[in-house]
């Protein structure tokens, strides 16, 4: 396992000493390849804090983690021997707001910033930039533009390209589709799915969109008030009755299935994954 958390807790420090426990007693492991995970939960449930542990931006205040063989616990920060930087090459983390990372004059310079920091040659980095800009759905002409004159969605894509160019083993995205139009959102989700399927990489997405969770994810993590309350198959999650207790919504396809079921009074094969599967299931149901 590439990422391993053992009873990890993290407490934010504040003036009044008590601090704020952002994540509590989280134990999980994530493979270095072939996973497609979504992380869901209400705002303030500790999702962002959790993923910031995964590339060692934050170190646990309680518990241990093991990231690509590097052991990290609450004492790691004081020992300067442990190099955390290499972990960040292997685990690429895209932040929610692209404004936090764009700073160069041109998009190209911004994209090669990450790879250059990890010792990739300039020529190689530029070659990668030309590839990844297409991967995120923009064309090469964008490379010469200033990142600050782009629209919100374009900025987002550029910031994702900047991480993709580092060629991480595990790609983590904090709400990558927020602020995008539905077309752009679907296109980007396809990109992540391609990265996962074709390159066999692990992708972890923080999202509030249950349709994304249901259609793409092979595994889903649910955070609630800092505690990891569910880790497993999305089908099982949505077949549970009490997801409303966790303030989660039912995906559109399942709503549609339920509506069809009650309206036409037919049996439909449980939990179809996509619209196409639902359509097939309805056909089956009608035949019977």
């Amino acid at each position: 396992m590439a990422i391993k958390f053992e009873r990890v807790s993290y407490q934010y420090q504040s003036i009044d000493k008590r601090g704020y426990l952002a994540i509590e007693d989280v134990t999980l492991s994530i493979a270095g390849e072939g996973e497609f995970i979504t992380l869901i939960g209400e705002t303030g449930s500790g999702k962002s804090t959790l993923v910031q542990h995964m590339n060692a931006l934050l170190q646990p205040t309680e518990g241990r983690m093991n990231l690509f063989g590097i052991k990290i616990d609450k004492d790691t920060k004081r020992q300067k021997k442990v190099k955390l930087n290499p972990i960040r090459k292997q685990v690429g983390l895209v932040f929610q707001f692209p404004e936090y990372q764009l700073f160069e004059e041109t998009v190209q310079k911004d994209i090669i910033f990450g790879p250059r920091n990890f010792g990739v040659s300039e020529a190689e980095a530029i070659k990668r930039a030309k590839e990844v800009i297409k991967v995120v759905g923009l064309d090469e002409s964008y490379l010469k533009r200033s990142p600050f004159n782009l629209s919100g969605g374009e900025k987002k894509r550029v910031s994702i390209a900047g991480i993709l160019a580092m060629e991480p083993d595990i790609l983590i995205l904090d709400e990558p589709t927020s602020g995008l139009d539905p077309m752009g959102r679907n296109a980007l989700l396809k990109v992540f799915n391609d990265i996962h399927e074709k390159l066999n990489k692990t992708v972890l997405i923080i999202t509030h969109d249950m349709n994304t969770v249901y259609e793409y994810a092979k595994r889903v993590l649910v955070m609630r008030e800092g505690v990891l309350v569910y880790d497993g198959d999305p089908l099982q999650l949505f077949s549970r009755r009490n997801i409303e207790n966790w303030n989660l919504e039912t995906p559109e396809i399942l709503k549609l299935q339920k509506a069809l079921q009650s309206k036409f009074n037919i049996e439909i094969d449980n939990y179809p994954r996509s619209k196409k599967a639902l359509f097939e299931a309805v056909k089956e149901g009608v035949k019977q």
Binding site: I15, N85, E99, Q101, F103, F113, N117, I163
Partner: protein
């Protein structure tokens, strides 16, 4: 970054918290003026005793005040050492011979090297540093070996000691007073008080309301911007920027990668804030009413009388005694 104590409000109880901010600002100015007028060590000691009593009555922990003083510790020690070393007026109080020989210089160099190597692991750096300085002086003064290069002396004169203590106490009083003000007054109250105190400047056409508004916005956004800076650092760190290491050229790049997003975000934020204020019908220069009015109480009058008394007392002592 989050441990900046100067200028931070600490919730609490005690009479200093119930005072009107105007009172506190005016009293602070009067007391500071008084402190600058005092010119004798013994009177300064009395003044600091009074400050101590204020702290005691106001139930403000000494620890808080110390935290406010800590950034100035270096300055305090530096002025103290400077006076002791270079002021040679008054009576000679103490003399210690110093022997500069290869042996002593070598040993002191060893002490310095040990200090450099071990300071990382010591918690009480300041005490450790002082111990090391004392050890060096001890080495210089006791090892009277034959291969002597030369001889000097470490001397302490009466005036030097007095001056050093005097300046130290004055600095401590001034910083303590301002720390009391910021610890016990919310930034918004402080701003209200400032606006009120600056009102007379309106006669000379200074727009005090605007100044107050600017200050209050600036104060309001300090934590927000700190938070933002922290997030930018994390975002850049996840792109391989190692803020702990790097040569000069890399350091410059790291700072640029931090500052540019910082500026862009600040401009964007100020734009948004301006729109939000206009959307709620803020018109610059128009007279505005306040939700919380400042109320002047008897206690405020008493405190002002005390402060004026302190000022006139110190003037009286300076002129008459």
């Amino acid at each position: 970054m989050k441990n900046i104590v100067i200028g931070r409000y600490v919730p609490g109880k005690g009479f200093l918290y119930t005072l009107d901010p105007r009172t506190k600002i005016i009293a602070l100015l009067l007391l500071m003026a008084g402190t600058f007028i005092i010119d004798e060590l013994i009177h300064m000691v009395v003044a600091i005793a009074m400050i101590g009593i204020i702290l005691l009555i106001g139930k403000i922990s000494i620890r808080r005040v110390y935290l406010g003083l800590r950034p100035l510790l270096f300055l305090l020690i530096f002025t103290f050492a400077f006076q002791i070393l270079f002021n040679t007026q008054g009576e000679l109080l103490y003399e210690m011979p110093l022997y500069y020989s290869p042996l002593t210089i070598g040993l002191v160099a060893l002490v310095v090297v040990t200090w450099m190597l071990t300071k990382k692991y010591i918690r009480f750096k300041l005490i450790y540093f002082l111990i090391m300085v004392a050890l060096s002086l001890f080495i210089f003064s006791t090892l009277n070996e034959p291969f002597v290069f030369g001889q000097g002396a470490f001397t302490v004169y009466e005036d030097a000691l007095q001056m050093a203590l005097f300046i130290m106490l004055r600095l401590i009083i001034i910083v303590t007073l301002s720390t009391i003000l910021t610890i016990t007054t919310k930034p918004t109250d402080l701003n209200l008080g400032l606006e009120s105190v600056l009102k007379p400047l309106k006669i000379v056409r200074v727009n005090t309301e605007e100044i107050a508004m600017i200050i209050s916005i600036a104060l309001r956004y300090i934590p927000t911007l700190l938070d933002e800076a922290n997030k930018i650092m994390l975002a850049q760190a996840s792109r391989g920027v190692d803020f702990q290491e790097g040569k000069l050229k890399e350091k410059v790049m790291q700072i640029v990668s931090l500052l540019v997003p910082m500026f862009i975000i600040s401009f964007k934020r100020s734009d948004e804030l301006a729109n939000a204020m206009e959307a709620r019908s803020f018109v610059p220069g128009q007279p505005r009413t306040r939700l919380h009015q400042l109320v002047w109480k008897t206690l405020d009058t008493l405190v002002i009388i005390f402060a004026i008394g302190f000022l006139f007392g110190s003037i009286y002592i300076r002129v008459m005694v």
